[in-house]
Subunit: 105 residues, 2 copies
Amino acid sequence: MTTNTLVPVLAALGDETRWSILVALGESDASASALAGMLPITRQAIAKHLAVLQAVGLVASARRGRELRYRVLGSQLSETARKLEQIGADWDRRLVAIKRIAEEL
Amino acid sequence: MTTNTLVPVLAALGDETRWSILVALGESDASASALAGMLPITRQAIAKHLAVLQAVGLVASARRGRELRYRVLGSQLSETARKLEQIGADWDRRLVAIKRIAEEL
DNA sequence: GATTACTGCAACTCTAGGGTTGCAGTAATC
DNA sequence: GATTACTGCAACCCTAGAGTTGCAGTAATC
């Protein structure tokens, strides 16, 4: 559903450890325990990060037997990118307008 | 120069107060003191946020008489957006490939 | 049914950083 | 030259959250 509040998504993305998790999931779906075997932190810490990522729609989970497998959602990243692109373009547009006015003086 | 380490930029963008500042600067350049008149926090707090934003290339400053005027840099936002777009696309590509394999079974 | 992986919850530590106050420095204005 | 805005620095408070340990719950496997 990509529920977007923008800033929370960016806050979630502003953490190196969470990127380690996202990169790992980007290569292959995995459970919290499996991720704990790859990263230098505990499973519980990873579980918390996964909860954050899931809350902002960057990750989704599904039961697979007795384990909870997580997968990464590229759509949320794309949507966030589009919004940033939009805002940046707006700013540049204003600056260009100012420049034009300055040159006419 | 848009020096990009990506995660620090996203961390800088993951704060509501800093967005208030960016939005204000998006409408018009301003000094820290001027911003303090618009937002419900002190000038010093704003100065810290501006330092963070400047460190990651989202904002630039220039002396204008006795005040330091800040302006927003859309280019950094656009560049960040492009990187996110790229990564999201990569993830989706892998997921599409997996789906294809699954359907062939 | 006992054992073996998983997940889930709770309490706790510790640091980063968002915010504050207070004061010193410096450039315009009168 | 005195006053009046600005910026800059330092010390401090306080909370959010990243990480930990420990244990209970639950679903496979033997």
